[in-house]
């Protein structure tokens, strides 16, 4: 069990094993002792209770032995942990961005990817960047986790040992879709990695419309899809110019999704809520998007026709 999927797994698993063995011995031992005591000294047997009040020798013994054991646990835990904070100088650096509610990985040359593809047996350092609230990047198979905190330069590192796909989870509660903030890391051979990287480079030279870039960087796409699928909010596919049934002030009405409607929906998202969606899930973006930027987004939305709206989205 001491060869984990990353170089750090061994130290962690050793600490687990040590604590669990001691815990098991004590919990079973004390429980058996309690059961035996209850049976052996049962009142039904009619023996008189012995009246003694303590023993200094025993107190010293059961203070001293547990103290030694927990110090051993502390030491083994520290031994397993220390290498996690000593990143090799030649580690490849990838920026891991956490935002509500997705992960994004930025490689050299600002190349972005939704999954973390890494070459096997090469140390990698993840610089953790939070764009909104706290998140925590957790790869269970690798035994690594560190919180992604706004304003803090947190990081973690590891060397993957095996080819395969491993889940990346968020373990710091971050709001509505916290549980869906899942990505994966794909560990591949070096040449396959190089190939993937070249493809990433090639794909990213297809220029993205400015509107799409804005949608992406503002985080809109976490809740609004481009391909017609229903997420937290309505999809953008085939959206512009369509007739929307909305609830405003308790009454239902139908409005046309025009420029004014888009602006209203971004600045006052809870005034008119589309039928079938919940109020108060979206906050006003008044401080985040200027009217000019909304104009750029609107131009992009006009290009999205239903079922053909996925070009360049790369989702």
């Amino acid at each position: 069990m001491f060869t984990g999927a990353s170089n750090l797994a061994e130290g962690v698993d050793k600490a687990f094993l040590f604590i669990f063995i001691i815990a098991f011995i004590f919990i079973i031992g004390i429980t058996v002792f309690m059961i035996w005591t209850v049976i052996h000294f049962s009142r039904k047997k009619g023996k008189e209770a012995k009246q003694f009040r303590g023993s200094m020798k025993l107190e010293v013994l059961w203070t001293g032995i547990p103290l030694i054991l927990v110090m051993l646990m502390f030491w083994i835990g520290w031994k397993g942990f220390a290498p996690m904070r000593k990143v090799p100088a030649d580690a490849m650096v990838v920026k891991a961005i956490g935002r509500m509610w997705e992960w994004e990985f930025v490689y050299s040359d600002s190349l972005r990817s939704k999954e973390l593809v890494l070459p096997i047996n090469k140390p990698v350092k993840l610089d953790l960047v939070a764009e909104d609230v706290n998140h925590s990047l957790f790869i269970p198979a690798f035994r690594v986790k560190e919180d992604v905190v706004p304003g803090y330069d947190n990081w973690l590192w590891f060397t993957p040992n095996y080819i395969g796909n491993y889940e990346i989870l968020c373990t710091e509660y971050c709001g509505l879709l916290h549980s869906a903030m899942v990505s994966q890391t794909r560990i591949v051979e070096q040449d396959e990695y190089d190939k993937w990287f070249e493809e990433l480079k090639a794909a990213s030279f297809v220029p993205e419309p400015d509107g799409l870039k804005l949608l992406r960087s503002t985080g809109c796409l976490a809740c609004h899809s481009l391909d017609g699928s229903k997420l937290v909010g309505p999809s953008f596919a085939g959206f512009y110019g369509s007739q929307r049934t909305v609830t405003a002030g308790g009454a239902q009405k139908t409005v046309t999704a025009d420029d004014a409607y888009i602006k209203r929906s971004i600045y006052e998202p809870n005034e008119e809520v589309v039928e079938g969606y919940a109020r108060n899930l979206m906050q006003s973006y008044r401080t985040l998007l200027t009217e000019e930027q909304i104009g750029i987004i609107t131009e992009y939305l006009k290009t999205l026709v239903k079922n053909e709206g996925t070009q360049g989205a790369g989702l």
Partner: protein, 541 residues
């Protein structure tokens, strides 16, 4: 032999200035206030347990089962706020501390009876506000009971209401702690030197200092979050120039000692139960007493283990891990002394002892898994996963909860003057014990496998554990309802309880059941150490 006068009416029948309901709501009798807390806690507990059950139903299968994610996030927040701030923090001290602390030290009431009633009103105001936050404003708060910034500043839900509720509850806790400290210092019966005081009052004493010294920190912290939300002052939100980790530090400087506010009185309760049902003095009186104080003291300096992965410096992690292992020692000492108290005794396995033994078993599992979380290497894997959920439910519910069940079975005859049905109590114990372990044990395994906490949904490989857990939830709820039913039935038509059904030796067993209004006709004179059971005990002061 009883010290009370049988002609004086019991506190339940006593007619003072106010009659009927007002006689309860305006009473400054510590026993009536204890019952007011008890009834409030039972109601809120079943509300919060029901919310927990709804969460378990949602999690029985991956994907949506009965609710939307926003509803789930509100549920786990309110479940946490009610359980932590309304039930486990005040619970033990407010119910058993109020009722039995004065009696066990030979006093007629607490030092400040009116302040005591005021604390209850603060408590009920805060508790109702907490529940109300579910229904007013922009929907239930969805931040988790920890209110982590920046999310708690950005969330549009009724976070301010929940923060205010926790703030008011904090004040109730401070005033109760203050009251108990003064009571113990000033109102002990003549001859009751510090080292002649029973161990439940000692546990309450250690708790009370923690309440008084730690709670103000959470008070000011919650006010700072409110100020940040309302006035945009950047204490914590980095967008306003604040520091999100500062919030976490301030929050846990209180909320870790709060764990000891919950568990110390629980330890005090079982420390009373083991001698009585073994008919034997408590083993290692001084060791248990010192352990209580040591836990209260060292417990202040371990908060950082809640933040091992948050980005603290290497040395801060080292330091907090070290102290976390140290704080485990006093708890271990207590466990050894409890089982030694039973050894050589004349053991009567009645429901209170059954619950106390279950307490040790569950508390050991909670304690050892706490060491897994305290060790830096294993913490990385288990931090903020289901493992933490399992660990703290074993400590808080398996520890404090089962000790509460032990205490209520122990003192029910004294509080209400009626006996409950032992067989039904034992059956309910079986349901509770099995249901509890089925509900929470799978979370240890899920957590090690990587299941995050506070998750509305999960990956398919976690299905089996969640399924078993939900089955356990139903069994546990059934057991607790059966237990409640047993008590209600006993109150209506249970047989009259004698003054001392378990042959206990602390002062509460020397007055009638239920106790008279002023507890003691004549304040007893204490001439020896506590826990004298037989003539063969030759220990003299």
């Amino acid at each position: 032999m009883t010290m009370g006068n049988d002609t004086q009416p019991s506190y339940l029948e006593y007619q003072g200035k106010h009659k009927g309901l007002a006689g309860w709501l305006l009473s400054t009798d510590h026993k009536r206030i204890g019952l007011l807390y008890l009834y409030a806690i039972i109601v809120f507990f079943f509300v919060a347990a029901f919310l927990g059950l709804l969460m378990r139903i949602e999690l029985i299968a991956p994907g949506k089962t009965i609710m939307e994610p926003q509803t789930y996030n509100g549920l786990f927040t309110i479940h946490g706020i009610i359980m932590i701030f309304v039930i486990v923090i005040p619970g033990m001290a407010a119910v058993f501390g109020n009722f039995f602390l004065p009696i066990m030290i030979g006093a007629r009431d607490v030092a400040f009876p009116k302040l005591n009633l005021f604390s209850w009103y603060l408590y009920i105001t805060g508790a109702l506000l907490g529940v109300l936050s579910q229904f007013i404003g922009n929907g239930p708060p969805d931040t988790g009971w920890t209110f982590y910034v920046p999310y708690s500043v950005e969330s549009d839900t009724s976070v301010i209401w929940a923060l205010t509720a926790a703030f008011i509850l904090g004040f109730s806790s401070i005033l109760t702690g203050l009251n108990f400290i003064v009571t113990i210092h000033r109102l002990r019966a003549p001859g009751m030197k510090w080292m002649r005081m029973p161990l439940f009052p000692w546990a309450i004493y250690a708790t009370a200092w923690t309440q008084v010294l730690a709670t103000p920190i959470i008070g000011i912290t919650l006010l700072m979050v409110i100020a940040e939300r309302v006035l945009n002052i950047g204490f914590f939100d980095p967008a306003l120039g604040g520091d999100p980790l500062l919030y976490q530090h301030l929050f846990w400087i209180y909320s870790h000692p709060a764990v000891y506010i919950m568990i110390l009185p629980a330890m005090g309760v079982v420390t009373e139960i083991f001698p009585t049902f073994s008919q034997k003095p408590v083993f290692g009186y001084t060791a248990i007493m010192i352990s209580s104080l040591a836990i209260a003291l060292v417990g202040y300096f371990v908060w950082g283990h809640h933040m091992f992965t948050a980005g603290m410096s290497y040395y801060a992690r080292w330091f907090f891990s070290f102290l976390t292992f140290i704080v485990a020692i006093p708890s271990a000492i207590k466990v050894f002394n409890w089982i030694s108290t039973m050894y050589g005794g004349s053991i009567d396995l009645k429901p209170p002892l059954l619950y106390a033994i279950a307490f040790i078993f569950l508390f050991m599992i909670g304690g050892f898994t706490g060491l897994v979380l305290g060790s830096l290497a294993t913490n990385v894997q288990t931090h903020d996963t289901a493992f933490v959920v399992a660990h703290f439910h074993y400590i808080i519910f398996g520890g404090m909860g089962f000790a509460f069940f032990a205490g209520i079975h122990y003192w029910y005859p004294k509080m209400f003057g009626k006996m409950y049905n032992n067989r039904v109590a034992n059956i309910a114990w079986g349901f509770n014990f099995i249901g509890f372990n089925l509900l929470y044990f799978p979370h240890f395994i899920l957590g090690i496998q990587g299941m995050p906490r506070r998750s509305y949904d999960y990956l398919p490989q976690f299905h089996t554990g969640h399924f078993i857990s939900t089955i356990g939830a139903f069994i546990l709820i059934a057991g607790m309802l059966l237990m409640l039913f047993n008590f209600i039935r006993a109150g209506r038509r249970g047989i009259k309880a004698p003054a001392n059904p378990w042959h206990g030796v602390t002062l509460e067993w020397k007055i009638p059941s239920p106790p008279p209004h002023e507890n003691f006709e004549e304040i007893p004179e204490i001439t020896s150490k506590p826990y004298f059971f037989g003539s063969s005990d030759k220990t003299k002061q």
